[in-house]
């Protein structure tokens, strides 16, 4: 397997504050990987280090085989980076800026015009070609940011929160664009929006408090972390007795009381609990009002992981 990104024991301190702690992960060529985590979890720090903007305090990061400290120029030549805040030069027009970016990225002078036209077409920027960046809407700015990342066809795209601050229609557009790009590029993106990551990415790395909490496909994550099924149960009967009886059923991992007569029952792996619970309630002479299986959403998995970390 060819690796595009190799990160080992990556650690970054800002002064005395630990931003990320001993991260280890790899991204294969052609993969789309999403970094997921709450704000301040260390996503942006990790991406800034990968993009060669700042060095790690310790540990190593390699992109396309280039070390982030020793081969910084070669590393930066292999990637296109969209920073979180999409910084652009307000006094330049879109085409002036993209021409500058193309030259700065080492696009040959005679390829320059064609390359700028190509990325403008890819990001639907034709209509604002000669507009000052200062007067662009947020959506267009985001696309300009994406366009400059694409210049020179770098093998790796690093996109920090590519859809933040956009309206729903623009979000759909940008996501579509990223999907189209994923054919030619390896993509590492960050987000704190779960559906986005689960739609776009083949693999999700969940990061919290500067540490990787989980790393898998979105489907696997929700399956693996839900560890069996959950049932929502409503029973009319003596509270404490019901609770202890439910806990006593074979295969039950956890029972949570959710207010009056409502219980959430979590099963051990692959246990079919429904019939067993129904029988129990009926045998004791209580009233079974509701029995409903519940799925874990990625959102809950995420929250689970993040809160587990905190406790």
């Amino acid at each position: 397997m060819d690796l595009m990104v190799e990160v080992q024991e990556l650690t970054k301190y800002y002064g005395a504050t630990l931003a990320i702690s001993r991260l280890n992960f790899q991204v294969a060529k052609g993969e789309i990987v999403g970094f997921l985590g709450p704000n301040g979890a260390g996503k942006t720090t990790t991406l800034k280090i990968l993009a060669g903007f700042m060095p790690p305090t310790s540990g190593t990061a390699r992109i396309n085989g280039y070390d982030c400290l020793r081969d910084s120029l070669a590393l930066r030549r292999s990637l296109g980076y969209l920073p979180e805040t999409v910084p652009l030069y307000p006094d330049l027009t879109v085409s002036q800026f993209l021409r500058f970016a193309a030259r700065a990225k080492g696009v040959e002078a005679r390829e320059e015009t064609r390359e700028v036209q190509r990325v403008m077409a890819a990001c639907s920027l034709k209509e604002v070609e000669h507009t000052l960046i200062a007067s662009l809407s947020k959506g267009f700015r985001q696309r300009v940011g994406l366009a400059q990342a694409l210049l020179g066809r770098p093998p790796l795209l690093i996109l920090d929160e590519p859809t933040i601050g956009l309206d729903p229609a623009q979000i759909v557009e940008i996501r579509q664009l990223i999907k189209e790009l994923s054919g030619d590029h390896t993509v590492v993106l960050s987000s704190h929006i779960l559906p986005e990551v689960s739609q776009l990415c083949q693999r999700v790395i969940i990061i919290n408090h500067g540490q990787i909490v989980a790393s898998d496909t979105p489907e696997n994550l929700s399956r693996q972390l839900s560890r069996g099924s959950r049932l929502s149960l409503e029973v009319r009967g003596p509270g404490a007795e019901v609770l202890s009886a439910l806990k006593g059923v074979f295969g039950v991992r956890e029972v949570v009381s959710q207010g009056e007569s409502r219980y959430l029952v979590e099963a051990r792996e692959d246990q079919e609990l429904g019939p067993e619970l129904a029988r129990l309630v009926v045998q004791r002479g209580w009233d079974l009002l509701k029995l409903q299986p519940q799925e874990f959403t990625l959102e809950e998995v995420f929250l689970n992981l993040v809160t587990e970390e905190e406790t």
Partner: protein, 259 residues
Amino acid sequence: MNRMSGVSAVLRKELTIYFATPIFYLMGFFFLLVEGFLFFFVYFTYFQNATFQAAQNPQVAALVNPFQTVFRSFFEDLGFILLLVTPLLTMRLLAEEKRSGTAELLFTYPLADWAVLGGKFLAAFLVYATFVLLTFVYPGIFAFVTRMDWGQLAAGYLGVLFLGSACLALGLFASSLTENQIIAAITGFALLLLFWLIGVPQDLGSSYGNFLAALSLREHLPNLARGVIETKDLVFYLCFTYFFLFLTKRQLESRRWRA
């Protein structure tokens, strides 16, 4: 990849921004206004008086060359006025990149630090040279009324350009220290004034005065202003430029090892 293409990319970008923003035009306007005032009311009047007196009194005529005196003050004053202009040209160059976050783009492009610095410095220098050469209007007017000493003029302009490169390098360094353009400008002004006045102790007979005067931006200008090109003056300005560009490069690199 051509190694110079990075420099030229940054150079072109910076020039585009200079010419796209009003600062350049505003500064050019006021600069020429001040120069025009000095020329018409100070130098020209002085020149008229001096030539008149020389015509009256042959002894004075033998001692004083009005043309040389006038242009000597012209270049020395020009040097000082440009000293006030340069921090305004350089304050934006690095501070604004940091404040607006575009540094994150600039320093993740495959550009070597020296290419970024070189491009920015050259852009500022070209704008500065444009200002300087615009003043050529005034000596040009003189050419109608008197015989010109083009050699002195060339030496004076050379001196002012070299002085400018030193001031711009210092201003660029000031801009690398902060995210705030105003702070960059203030730091630039303060350091430039210091290096302008550092020769004063010599005039007061201070024991280390000679040493300090050798470091002064001002003390190296008079020779050139009166038409004498001395290597030591040009070398001083070049070293000054190199020293501050070097410090700026170190300052940029420090973000890689700091924190």
